[in-house]
Each structure stands twice: as structure tokens, then as C-alpha cells.
């Protein structure tokens, strides 16, 4: 792991200077601003547009703002995350900018790990800030209403994002081209979406972590329903990153 810390520092500077982190934060925070407003004002908007009488709308509650937050963030948010951090290794591989530091003593594992950690860090910071904004707006619009399992739910959702990010380094090593890093996560995401149809495999599906926390927050289920998916995601992430490091050491640049 030669040269890990200096390279990590360089990667952090780069994620700030290329505005990657700023964009991800702004995108997720904008969802966090919109979600509570949509949850709270939809009945009025429908009323004013004159179609309120057709559907009976229950009064919105604080949980609705989290439901809205999860639905936008798990789709558009994850899409933005993957687009922004999908090319971190592939881009440098195809441009050849990694050759110089690697020939000057930086170990390949260190380079890969630093890049992976920066993407996980970006996801952590953006999700935390967005969740905080969503939480504050929810308090403002639904004063006095408590929602259970907010932090537990966010931790599960966070792991779902980490799982997808963990596939990026492996994908970048296996698939050539500047968007090679998106091939495996894209394929896995699609397969897992299809697998959501089969109830037998359902509980192990990492994508469950982006929707089922809401069941726990609503009090419909216990948090233990998330356990199989949490374990699958954590184990797969670790294996994928380890495999990427081994393969990257053996691959040609």
C-alpha cells in the first residue's frame, strides 16, 4: 500500500476541484428541499387545479416527506452518484494519467482503494447533508410529528449506495473504455431490479435497502427484515473491492 495517504489527499483535492462533490451535494440537497414540500402541498396543488374531488387524499404526515425523499434519491440520486463517480478509475485508465504515479512507487491497490474511498466519502457527505435538510424541512412542515428509524433507514440506504459504488472499481478493471466503470453496476442494478419480482430471493436483494426502511419507519415491519440484504450488501462490497485490487495488480494498464 505504498503512497496511499498522499494519493488519497490528491484524490480528495481532485473531487473538490472538479466540482464532483459540490454537484452531488447540490443535486441531493435539491431533492431534500423538494421532497417535504411535495409531500405537504400536493393536496393543495390538486385542490387548486380542480381535480381534488376525484381522488380522496389522506392528510399528509411527516413520513410522507421521507417517502418522497427515498423515491427521488433512490432513482435520480443514485443515477447522479453513479454518473459522477462511475468514471473515477476508467477515466484515468483510458487517458493513461495513472501510469506516472504508478511507475513512481504508488502501489496499484493503494490507488484503487483511495479512489474507491473518495467515492464512498462523496456519497456519505452528500447523503448526510441531504438527509439533514430533509429532516429540518420535515420538522418545519410537520411540527411535533416523530418518525421512527430515520437514522437506521438512512444507514441502510447508505449501504445500498456503497454496494453499487463497490462494483465500480471491479468493473473498471474488467471493462475497457472511459465508461467501463459503469458496465458492471448497470448490469447488476438491472438484474437486481428484475429479481425484485421473485419473492424467494427478495429478502437478500440489496435494492431492498433503498425502499424497505420505509416499512420499518411506518411501523409495518421490524428492522430485522433488512438484515439479509444488509449482510449481502456488506459482504458483496468487500469481496468486489478485494477482487478488483487483486485483478488490478495483474492487469496491464
Amino acid at each position: 500500500m505504498n503512497g496511499f495517504l498522499p494519493f488519497l489527499k490528491k484524490e480528495i483535492t481532485q473531487t473538490l476541484r472538479t466540482y464532483k462533490l459540490l454537484i452531488l451535494v447540490l443535486v441531493l440537497v435539491s431533492f431534500a428541499v423538494m421532497s417535504p414540500a411535495l409531500a405537504r402541498f400536493t393536496p393543495e396543488i390538486l385542490q387548486l387545479s380542480g381535480i381534488e374531488g376525484m381522488i380522496a387524499l389522506p392528510a399528509p404526515v411527516a413520513l410522507d416527506s421521507w417517502i418522497q425523499f427515498y423515491s427521488t434519491t433512490s432513482q435520480m440520486g443514485i443515477l447522479a452518484l453513479m454518473l459522477i463517480y462511475g468514471g473515477i478509475l476508467s477515466g484515468e485508465k483510458s487517458k493513461g494519467t495513472l501510469v506516472l504515479p504508478l511507475t513512481h512507487g504508488l502501489s496499484r491497490s493503494a490507488a484503487l482503494l483511495a479512489k474507491y474511498l473518495v467515492s464512498v466519502g462523496g456519497w456519505t457527505v452528500s447523503l448526510a447533508l441531504a438527509a439533514l435538510v430533509n429532516h429540518l424541512y420535515t420538522l418545519y412542515l410537520f411540527p411535533g410529528e416523530e418518525v421512527a428509524f430515520v437514522l437506521g433507514g438512512l444507514a441502510s440506504f447508505w449501504l445500498c449506495g456503497v454496494f453499487l459504488l463497490s462494483l465500480v472499481p471491479l468493473s473498471s478493471v474488467l471493462v475497457k473504455g472511459s465508461f467501463g466503470g459503469l458496465a458492471l453496476p448497470g448490469g447488476v442494478l438491472f438484474t437486481l431490479l428484475v429479481l425484485m419480482i421473485f419473492p424467494d430471493l427478495f429478502s437478500f436483494n440489496p435494492l431492498l435497502l433503498a425502499s424497505s426502511p420505509l416499512q420499518v419507519m411506518a411501523g409495518v415491519d421490524e428492522w430485522t427484515i433488512l438484515l439479509p440484504a444488509l449482510i449481502t450488501s456488506a459482504v458483496t462490497s468487500a469481496v468486489a473491492v478485494a477482487a478488483a485490487m487483486v485483478l488490478f495488480r495483474r492487469s496491464s494498464l
Partner: protein, 81 residues
């Protein structure tokens, strides 16, 4: 004005009341869009080489497509320094 948060029924019965109640949300959203647009626009104008497309295309994309436009530019268009 009969804005009363936390009480859903009949919070507002005209458009102005509703817009007023939504200002704490609309203002930050507009600000975020502006920041994204300006950051991307400055970057487009400073660069001469792009991964794909050219300066005019990216200026239009960044200015005309909210939120998604700047992301597209930074992912697909931004060249090297």
C-alpha cells in the same frame, strides 16, 4: 392569510397563499439551480477542448436544462485542464 402548518385542511384556498407557503422551498431550489448553472457555465467558457460536443452546445445545455444540464456537462463534456 390563513397559513397554518401542521393543519392540512384548508391551509390555503388561493394560488398566492400556496406560493407564499412554498417560498421557503422555491427560493433554495432556484438558488441551487443558479449555482449549478454558474459553476458549469464558468467552466464551459474557460475550456476550449471538450470530451464531446463544443462550446456553443454546452452553453445551451447548461443554461437551458435545469440541474441535469450541469451534471451532463461535468460528466460528459468537461475536458482536461
Amino acid at each position: 392569510m390563513k397559513l397554518e402548518f401542521g393543519n392540512v385542511v384548508g391551509v390555503s384556498d388561493n394560488v398566492l397563499d400556496l406560493i407564499f407557503a412554498m417560498l421557503p422551498f422555491l427560493i433554495p431550489i432556484v438558488l441551487i439551480q443558479l449555482v449549478l448553472m454558474i459553476v458549469a457555465l464558468v467552466s464551459v467558457l474557460r475550456h476550449d477542448s471538450f470530451k464531446m460536443g463544443n462550446k456553443v452546445v454546452w452553453v445551451l445545455v447548461v443554461v437551458l436544462i435545469n440541474i441535469i444540464g450541469p451534471i451532463l456537462y461535468f460528466v460528459l463534456g468537461r475536458g482536461d485542464d
